[in-house]
Amino acid sequence: MTKTHSVRLTTRDHQEISFNCGEDEHLIEAAEKANITLPSSCLEGNCGACHGACKSGDYELKSHREDALPHEEGGILMCRTFPKSDITVEVPSDLAHITSGPVAERTSEVVSVEDIGGAVRRLVLRVLPDANGDMGPQFEPGQFMELEIPGTDVRRAYSLANAPNWEGLMEFLIRIQPNGKFSTWVDTQAKAGDTVRIKGPEGAFVIQTGTLNARRFVAGGTGIAPMFSMLTQMAEFQDSNESRLYFGVNTEDDLFYLDQIEALKTQLPNLTVTVCVWKPSENWQGFSGSPVDAFAQDLKDDIAKGVQPEVYLCGPPGLVDATEETAEKSGLPHDNVFCERFLPA
């Protein structure tokens, strides 16, 4: 008979959750049996949504995509972690984002698909109410949904780009990837009125409420989606936190959403934006380099002035790792950094 071990999770807000896990099951499925829904997505070790850090005990970390794994001591992907003894794990989520019971699944319909430049499409869905008019759970800025290609069981996770609302509207920024299954469907087939199964909201990459700290948002490409959701809600709530957005792309041709960013600046007087182009043309007037470079320059000034900003990162693993490293080197506490890494699938 398979041995069973105790798993003790500590959340970011210092709450504890315990459940038992057999040696032949991964942490996510064992938690699910205990009616605990941990943040996760692909369940194949590819997306990084279920990352955490094992602080004590033995475990086997099965095959996974290397860049999905956070570069920290004891870093694990819970969907690929099989305990060999009692273990303790720290998860970068508040207790509020660890739900009981299954994640909600709903049907939505496509409202619009729009080419917004830079090989990015803005997909707008509207959740269809159930017979009772119920629109299902509200998302928080920074969370993601899993979207299913109609007629298949292929799902991909995308961050929400708009602010929570009670009309059931959900916006996503989809970069068209060669051979990307979902993005190809969006690019070639999706049209208004199509129905799309959705699962969520999920994820613990959310804004810290109630602080007066300065906020730094570092986004690579469509990693701007959750930042846009956060900043739009900040504008709606009239948050006064001094904020800077660093939005990076590879070339000018990859730029998108600049008009929306300008509109956001008028609603958030305390927001400054640096658009960063990594390989610009000669005509580029803005910042040349990666958003990490721009962030690093400002962080030096912040630290010199005694300002310890909250840092929100979203983008490919290289960008996230580089930003985390910059923050760590400058002495910014680890707890001030919140990240979401996305990997093409």
């Binding site: 509020a96 009772n132 929570p164 409420t209 109630g210």
Partner: protein, 547 residues
Amino acid sequence: MFCYQCEQTARTDTSVGCNTERGNCGKDAQTSDLQDLLIYAVKGIAQYNQLARENGKADNEASNFILKAMFTTLTNVNFNAARFTAMLQEASEIRDRVKAAAGDKAASATGPATWVIPSEVGELLAQAEMAAVRSGEAEVGEDIIGLRALILYGAKGVSAYAYHALMLDQQDDDVYAGIEKSLAFLAEEPADIGALVGQALELGNVNLRVMEMLDAGNTGKFGTPEPSAVRVAPTAGKAILVSGHDMADLAALLEQTKDTGINVYTHGEMLPAHSYPELKKYDHLAGNYGGAWQDQQTEFADFPGPILMTSNCIIEPGPSYRSRIFTAGPVGWPGVRHIENHDFSTLIQAAKATPGFAQDGDDKTITIGFGRDAVLGVAGTVVDAVKAGAIKHFFLVGGCDGADSGRNYYSDFVEQTPDDTIILTLGCAKYRFNDQDLGEIGGIPRLLDMGQCNDSYSAVQVAVALAGAFECEVNDLPLSLVVSWFEQKAAAVLLTLLALNIKGIRLGPTLPAFITPAVLDVLVENFDIKANTTPEADLKSILQKAS
């Protein structure tokens, strides 16, 4: 942070007050410090406006800001640090304006009036100690600090009630002047016990006028409360829950939800809405849901629609309902949507997008609405019943409820009252016993619900009218006050009762932490104020004394 303004403040054998990273109410240290600084800034506005008033140039907009700022710092009102930094900047601008109106006299104001209010948060917080409630204790001692706190917390309560009155279009220059006088008095760091007690009682008189305005505002807008049966079970359909105290918010919401098919429920201190003709006329004011404020985390989580939290008494919203709770007026919680100017469109949208109640609950009602007109309407019967010996005693058991287990005192007390006694109640403390069937005396229910804590004026008027009918002083009536306090509105009402020279009040479940033994001695000596013991002993003592 240091805060000891409410009943649930931390107490150990050797110390009182919340002084860690987070108070027992959930307020974090940063927000607590910003609240102290806002009060300090508001004292400065009061100092200048008092002088401007002497010039005939009083700035009533500044006075209204004082009301809102003070209300915002009450227990369980606003936990949003950003709101306080914004209000501090607003205070800075208003103070400059009022200073100009004070003219040459402005030069005489010192202390808070001359504070240079920084715009940067770090610089603000660095000065928090100056504004702390116990600042200067080393020089003047804890008794003086306690009396200053009594005045400050009383002034917060008076301001909160005056803000409620303002929302009902009632304002009075004398009230503004009275509140500002008390704040300007505190700005001078007074240390004379006699002067402090005198100012506290003067503030109690200001509050009596405020309660009268609030009564006029409510009855003027919504009619005279009348005895009414209130459904305390759900009705199938979409639903909105309204908590807090603000009847003007509720009235606006009822108007905006008319003909939408959405039912509106009251919670906590909004229950008395069902007794006002101009509110109960709306068929979709469907009933009352839940009990007092301290149960909100369970009750709101279970409520199948959005919640509007008006005026005060919010506690940390749980994750399951954080997205569907909305705040209005002085209330705030970080990450919770705030509604300005009665625009409830998003709230209504949320009601449509949430399930509502699937089915009707069991028919169950409670009876409320015994405001002063209803009670005095049967005054003749009551007086005759007293004279005939059918009614031996009246108890006013009311005030705030809270989570403390010691508050069972009030349900036990009411349960043990003899059958020939009448219980008047108000405030949310009544949820401890308002489902008890206490029967009637000669057709008069033994339990008479007079309304919100905001309706204390009604109780005072009834006491005064009974004293008139019996041709005696209020203190000579067969009436005992058993008052349950929690926060600063209750402090204001207590000061009013003392200003009216009401004696023998039983105050519980525990005495305020800022009332030091020496200050308590003063209150006992002058007003025979008593702390709760046990319901049995207190009841026995009251009835023995009466007979």
